[in-house]
């Protein structure tokens, strides 16, 4: 890609050491580059490491987690290595996060208008009056009905959808270069989700922000992202341009994720191993081998690297599914 990547993750390993057991690795060698303005989707289920990746990008891996290997560079800077004060100038301003469950994470004793205004006040050096005006503009931009009145509302007085819009406003008020959206629409009703996603897409395009769109729902990424990455057990197992990915996914896990939407139980069963046959594999083999319907002896002995393939996908598999149907 041309130009400097806004986010450069190289061979990132994050582990959580514990006293008597082996270190648990949440991330095992993640490589990812995001160009300015690009919208990349990261799909994974719970435990895949996607939230740890989001925090690692922000330099906020919670203890006892440590970055064991590799680096994360945001705009050329390693946020984890910065001092607290330096880092907090970047967070919320150039790198912002859109969180799920906003009513639990917004400050319950402050009005939402004030919370948006705080970002402008502390990051942009605006006076309180200017910051309040900016906050009101943002409330309008995220299409909250009756914004003047809602400025003085408290988080618990808003519906889930409206609180989500407030969080989007907080993330975008400083026109950040990268927005990380972590499962931002889970728990929302489907019509509200559609509205919120449209809004998010419109606004990041307007502001020219790159987006790392983390989700459990692969269907969302089909409509909002230019590239898709699938993460399993701390590794990226497939990464490709959206159209190419959905035309023909190549990793068995990606296909399993798509099979979940099919109405054909027989086909779904073809791609799913029964509980009994999911035996644990010894370390050293492919992490997905235990659940893979296509596994061969080689898969259990040798972990496959992430390799480019003929169709432009990068796949982590010894026997990726054939390109032509």
């Amino acid at each position: 890609m041309s130009g400097r990547a806004i986010l450069d993750v190289a061979d990132l390993w994050v582990g959580f050491p514990s006293y008597r057991q082996a270190t648990q690795h949440a991330l095992r060698g993640i490589d990812m580059r995001i160009a300015p303005g690009e919208m990349i989707g990261l799909v994974g289920e719970s435990g895949s490491g996607k939230t740890t990746l989001a925090r690692a990008v922000m330099g906020l891996v919670p203890p006892p987690g440590v970055i064991e290997r590799g680096h994360v560079l945001f705009g050329g800077r390693n946020l984890a290595a910065l001092g607290d004060e330096e880092r907090r100038k970047v967070l919320g301003r150039e790198l912002a996060m859109v969180i799920p469950n906003p009513r639990a994470e917004l400050n319950p004793v402050q009005t939402v208008g004030r919370q948006i205004s705080n970002i402008a006040f502390y990051h942009l050096g605006a006076t309180r009056k200017e910051a309040d005006r900016i906050a009101l503009d943002m409330l309008r931009a995220v299409r909250i009905p009756d914004p003047e009145r809602r400025f003085a509302a408290y988080p618990h007085e808003l519906s889930g959808g409206m609180a989500q819009r407030v969080v989007i406003a907080i993330a975008l008020v400083c026109s950040p270069k990268l927005v990380i959206s972590d499962d931002a629409t889970s728990g929302l009703d489907v019509t509200v989700q559609a509205q919120v996603l449209d809004l998010l897409q419109t606004m990041v395009r307007e502001k020219g922000a790159a987006t790392l769109f983390i989700t459990r729902d692969i269907a969302i990424t089909a409509h909002f992202c230019t590239r898709i990455a699938v993460i399993y057990a701390g590794e990226i197992v497939e990464i490709a341009e959206t159209r190419s990915f959905f035309a023909r996914p190549r990793h068995p896990y990606s296909i399993m994720l798509l099979a979940a939407f099919s109405h054909n139980p027989a086909l779904r069963a073809k791609w799913t191993r029964s509980e009994e046959s999911r035996r644990a594999t010894a370390a050293g083999g492919c992490a997905f081998a235990a659940r893979c319907v296509r596994r061969q002896p080689r898969c259990e002995q040798e972990a496959p690297p992430l390799r480019p393939s003929a169709t432009g996908h990068e796949v982590r598999c010894h026997f990726p599914v054939e390109a032509a149907a």
Partner: protein, 344 residues
Amino acid sequence: MTAMLDVQNLVKRFPLAGTGKVVQAVNGVSFTIARGETLSLVGESGSGKTTVGRCILGLIDATAGDIEFDGKRMGRGRDIRSKVLRGRIQLVFQEPAESLDPRIRVGETLAEPLRHLGIGRADREKRAREVAEHLGLPARALDQFPPELSAGLQQRVGIGRAIITRPELVILDEPTSALDPTARAEIVDLLIRLQAEFGTAYLLITHDLSTVRFVSHRVAVLYLGTIVEEAPSEALFARPLHPYSVGLLASVLLPDPTLTHTSALRLEGEIPSPIDLPPGCPLAGRCPFADTRCHAERPAPVAVGPQHFVSCFHHQKIAALDSTIDNFARFQEESTKLLSVGAG
């Protein structure tokens, strides 16, 4: 043939203490479920669907309306626990981690309902083992504690506990909302298998439309405590005729970038509060087709096809819109092609 479950004009209001206002959660819901059939009650938050489920189970008392199970009228409250009904209607909860006692072994939890039917220990254990097989649970899971299992397996235990009494009706309240997509699909497959095996009827209460499509024979769409459309599953997904159903289905995203949610009909705003509803159609405030009649009068259900009812004065206009959401069918064709290749 008499339906197994017959709900007529169910109404539930919750008075708000100290303010004199009333939450009109359920406003005249009627439907039937035949033996071995799956009816999905679909709605967003505030639609009243969970309240309907609770009323049927007798967990809360309805304000008005009749519920008949197997031809016999269910009274206010206590009947679900009465000897004659015990074990015939069961419930599966949304959060498996919270509905399973973490200190009781899985095997015991599965067998617990049988204790209340007076079945002896040896028989209970046998049936628990049988059920575990049907559920696809590994044998050793019976001796484990719920927190040791994944969320998907926990939910299987929840379902197992419900069907072990061979109920005629199982009410499932958002059974897959807390699960990852792959686990969701597995649970759906399990439910279909169990229904084929035991002939259990399901009342599936959910807002997850992708799940609904697989497993339902019929779907009822609920909005602010009223059923706005009821139809066989394929009919609803292929050709929804109520503006809310159209808007709802248009919001469902499929994993195919070429299938965008095209719809001439956009629902603005959010679902209003169910307190002190105005007269007229519940969607009138948000519907682009609403006119004075819609604001004043509640539309009654009108038959528009076999077992297909719509409560809308303008359903013909909707039918004329080219807003076919055939996306679902098209996606099925493509995904079938995609998935047929390459499995081991």
